[in-house]
Amino acid sequence: MSRKATTSKPTIGLRGSDGLSHAYIQYPPLRCNVPESGGLFYDDGNKLLLSPAADQVFSWKVGIFDPLTGPTTDSISEGPIIAIRYSLDTKVIAIQRSGQEIQFWDRETAETFSHKCKPESESILGFFWTDSRQCDIVIVKTNGLDLCAYKSESKSLQLVETKKLNVSWYVYTHESRLVLLASGMQCKTFHGFQISSADIVRLPRFEMVMAKSEANSKPVLAAEDIFIVTVYGRIYCLQVDRVAMLLHSYRLYRDAVIQQGSLPIYSSRIAGSVVDNVLLIHQVDAKVVILYDLFADSRAPISAPLPLLLRGFPRSSSSSQFSGRESESSDGNVASSHEAVTYADSWIFLVPDLVCDVANKLLWKFNLDLEAISASNSDVPSILDFLQRRKLEANKAKQLCLGITQTLILERRPVPVVAKAINVLVSSYSHSIKTCSYLKGLKPEMPLNSGAQNSDADVSTIERDAIGKSIIHESTARVDSETLDSEDESHFTNLEHNSKEAYVGGSVNNENSPSNEAHSSYVMQSSLLSVQEESQLTSAAISPDEMYNFVFSPVDEEMVGDPSYLVAIIIEFLHSANLEKIRVLPNLYVLIIQLLVRNERYAELGLFVVNKILEPSKEVALQLLESGRQNTQTRKLGLDMLRQLGLHNDYVVLLVQDGYYLEALRYARKYKVDTIRPSLFLEAAFVSNDSQHLAAVLRFFTDFLPGFKNTAEHNRYHRILNEMNSSMTA
């Protein structure tokens, strides 16, 4: 577990970032600069960045981040804009004009109407569209929620339900479908509603914890101090406690809110983002970011606070000596342009992984540098665990895992350490098989790419199985499948179903007979994998076949010296695979045989075969026969295996080869092997120069093979037999 080991890890493919940072933003950003813009708005329901100008609104789709995306425009009427959101079917634009009025704009018909509230008693804090069956839009007012249905025919909102509550401010994210309403003097009493397609869930009221600085002062919680975070399909609420300098986390369940512990903070301004289920806590003042993986129970950060890196920023001046390497800047102060400032005051963080520089009208997307993260951590099993959970860059995570494992073995780290690492990979694979995400990832056509709206739905379905307990999330997943993209979803489940069946079928097949089909399907998978190497894997899981192809086999080629270490590692792999009930392919068994034979450990090899550690298959049997050239006992094991597998034809041929042609004949008769030419047996008997045996073989065929007596073969060997006999008597 030394530092040295981690630094010597191979950097796979990409430029090494030397652990300077673990998260980065990639140049160029999306430029959303339009003339006369009236500010930038983010519609997280549709993942749209909106920039209204005089009488039109520009919108950029940012669901799939592409800096070159051009805006689409819609014309709207002029006027003040407090908030603007497209309906989830993007047919209607809703614009909050004031504390009392929301205007609706039908994009097709250009018809418009306004919804107003009672000005004296209430004011509108905000609104959002939902995919609930009961209502289309929720309006948050100071005195509660209005759940309304949008009626395009009558050009009005129909009030479905109201939830009466005092609201100081609110927080909502579309990915969680959760609205949190703050009330009370300190704004630390919260009511929550999850408005999903299935139903509307009211969370129990809960209070946030706030430390007091002095006896009499009571800090007031502000909206920017609360984040709703969705990771691994679980919903957390994070609350900044400025006095205690802590970030409290709460996990939200359907019927409970449970405090989870606190994270330290080092800045008065804190923001949270989620990239690929990793929580990024931006310490804005300190200009550093801390990464947390909330999957495990530990609240320990993945690594130390490090600055955010701006990648690929072209330096206009100077530093020609660095030009070979891509110039990178991790420090805003040095950068030559205002664009390159990280954690500027004008940064607005958007859910889940975007940041908008409102001053410069730039949109950046956060990314994780998996390489840097894995290089900076010496606890290999935990880093593998972390990488296995990555879905966004699953392929890169997978390559890193393979590389790390390879290195581990090549460095001959202690077997228990490697065993632990391998166990992580195997159980992750087993899990992905159970949830079908492994095979799903191999399908060329991915629902993920079918549209911006779907990405949310897809990710959540994958995770639904992973965290069955999180009831809240389960319902969101259902929401997506039912309303948003029902067509895609059904197609998707179909796929899932099929692939699962195929797998089960394959493994069952293999139980009894060594079916080549199943094997070839595996081979197909792995080749498929290499074809779409950089593509849309959703899981970093590593199959036994890949373990063989990308870890054990290359390691075997590279490793020098005693192969028993590698045998020990493979045994640990078998151990893990056996515990997880994962089938191991014959190629690995073949490798074990080769390794043992290299050391001439024939006795152990015998034990392995007898105890069925090497599961019987034709490949294994053939390797035993091959290795048995130097050791007859091993050869016999191979022969016995062929016989036990019912490969009668091969068995008989090999018996004849070994000179046991009479036994072979008896066996052939018993198991009705009739595909072998009589001449094979006759020739063997002839070579042994035993006339009695030759006569016996000849007799066998004349008795049991109809028409044999009239063949040229019969005549030939009959003549030979006569000659043998006459020479003996003479």
Partner: protein, 512 residues
């Protein structure tokens, strides 16, 4: 019992002699390396050896490679074994008055083989010891104490019970394996790797036993047999407990029994001093000179840390630490430390090359500590798993069958439990004994043949008591079985074999 009539101590004679020694008149005594009973006058000892030598010289004329196997005299059988060139072991047993032979040459020869290979494992080859000390005193002292300790296991009351027809469904010189599931096997292998990696970078070997059955070995087949045999004799839980239970009895025997008194290291007083020790070793020095007696019983016990300890190898000079036993591996010719660890029914034997541990006992105990740290959890788990899966003493009993299954390639055998074999009648056992003798004759003949092919063999005998006595030999694997109270047709008998073969031998014996 076959020996019951007149099996006094003189009913057996066992001698070891070296044909390269004492070839001049007057020096005949020099060739005797060991003789039992040692009280026999030299003239009688020389008579036995002279006869043997004469026959060996005579038969070598015809068969230089494999001289005399045995002599069948009217009242005695002589079984020969040449473990090292020109070193001969001869066992003489008395014949009974029965018409059927009660002895089987091969079974007796296996005893000789076992004595020799165990001796070599602990003390090295006889020839090497002779070269080290040409006077012969050293080797005589070692052989004497070693074989007397060995023979004591055959002693029941005052009689020696050598393997007779009653043991025809047993095979000495093979190991008995525990059948385990794949899952358990993988875990065992995982443990084996941990054990062997415990001693830094040197290749170690290991042997794991559950009860008296072998679970795993990384040694060569010959070394496996030797260590397995020793473990079953002295180390396994049964061996340890039988030692303690009969402890008081043997102590008594030490005073009472004539034979046991002889097992003292000191040679019998009737011997000329120059015979068992060269004259330059005075009795005082003799006491200081420590002859390691690995087979001495009741000397092993389980220590607090789970390791088995013994004072047989003495203590390290100036300390109270018992010296770790050492053994010589046949395959590599390397001397190894033998560390045995026991947890309930599980016995682990770890063999560490002496050359790899420069600082002696200190180094060994460091390795032992390392093993405990790395493996104790695994050991616990495996013991539990194997105990759960074990069917007990009669686990390998097959109802209706009394069988012996020998895999000659792997030196593995499995047989009906001894308690079940004893239910067979004497007739059945005698018939089986005879059948085995015949089969071995046939096998030996085939071995002499130039052909490398292993012949199949099938014999089915209806014995006097209407039992079926069956033998099948197929490509290195042998199956012997006795079916009493069985149907009288041959078809029935062969069906029974077929069924057994398919069920318990993966169809090895039902090929046609």
């Amino acid at each position: 019992m076959g020996l019951s009539s007149n099996s006094s101590n003189e009913s057996i004679q066992l001698c070891i002699f070296d044909l390269r020694r004492g070839q001049h008149e007057g020096q005949e005594l020099d060739k005797i390396l060991f003789f039992f009973p040692s009280g026999l006058p030299f003239s009688k000892q020389l008579a036995v050896i002279g006869l043997s030598e004469g026959l060996i010289t005579f038969t070598r004329i015809f068969s230089p490679q494999a001289a005399c196997d045995s002599i069948e005299a009217e009242r005695h059988s002589h079984v020969f074994h040449e473990p090292e060139p020109d070193i001969w072991m001869v066992l003489v047993v008395e014949k009974s008055n029965d018409s059927e032979p009660i002895w089987r040459d091969d079974a007796l020869r296996k005893v000789l083989k076992e004595i020799h290979s165990l001796f070599v494992m602990f003390h090295g080859p006889v020839r090497a010891m002779l070269e080290k000390e040409p006077g012969g005193g050293l080797v005589r002292r070692h052989l004497y104490s070693f074989i007397m300790d060995y023979l004591r296991d055959f002693l029941v009351g005052k009689k020696f019970l050598l393997p007779s027809f009653r043991d025809c469904l047993k095979e000495r010189g093979t190991v008995q394996m525990l059948t385990i599931t794949r899952e358990a096997a993988i875990e065992v292998q995982s443990l084996v790797r941990v054990l062997e990696s415990s001693a830094a970078n040197t290749p170690c070997y290991s042997l794991i036993l559950f009860q008296d059955l072998l679970v795993s070995t990384t040694l060569s087949p010959d070394d496996t047999i030797n260590l397995f045999t020793y473990a079953v004799l002295r180390l396994t839980p049964r061996a340890l407990s039988s030692g303690t239970s009969s402890w008081s009895y043997l102590r008594k025997g030490n005073i009472a029994s004539n034979v046991v008194t002889e097992t003292n290291v000191a040679p019998p007083s009737s011997m000329p001093e120059s015979f068992y020790g060269s004259s330059d070793i005075s009795p005082g020095e003799d006491n200081n000179y420590h002859v390691v007696r690995p087979l001495q019983s009741d000397k092993w016990s389980k220590g607090k840390d789970g390791y088995l300890v013994t004072d047989l190898w003495g203590a390290e000079v100036g300390t109270w630490v018992f010296a770790t036993p050492t053994v010589l591996l046949q395959q590599t010719g390397e001397r190894m430390y033998l560390c045995a660890y026991q947890h309930r029914s599980l016995t682990l034997m770890l063999l560490i090359p002496i050359s790899s541990i420069p600082n002696g006992e200190q180094g060994v105990s460091a390795v032992k500590q390392q093993v405990l740290e790395n493996a104790s959890l695994k050991i616990l788990k495996i013991e539990e798993k194997l105990s759960k899966g074990w069917g007990g003493e009669n686990a390998y009993h097959v109802g209706g069958y009394r069988y012996l299954l020998v895999d000659g390639d792997r030196n593995v055998s499995r047989a009906s439990p001894a308690t079940k074999v004893t239910t067979l009648t004497k007739e059945s056992l005698l018939a089986m004994n005879k059948l085995r003798q015949e089969v071995e004759l046939e096998k030996n003949r085939a071995k002499l043949d130039e052909h490398s092919c292993e012949k199949d063999l099938e014999v089915c005998i209806r014995a006097k008591n209407n039992a079926w006595v069956i033998s099948r030999v197929t490509r290195g694997k042998e199956l012997y079985m006795v079916l009493e109270k069985a149907n009288e047709t041959l078809l029935y008998a062969s069906d029974a074999v077929e069924k057994f073969s398919n069920r318990y031998c993966d169809g090895t014996f039902s090929l046609d």
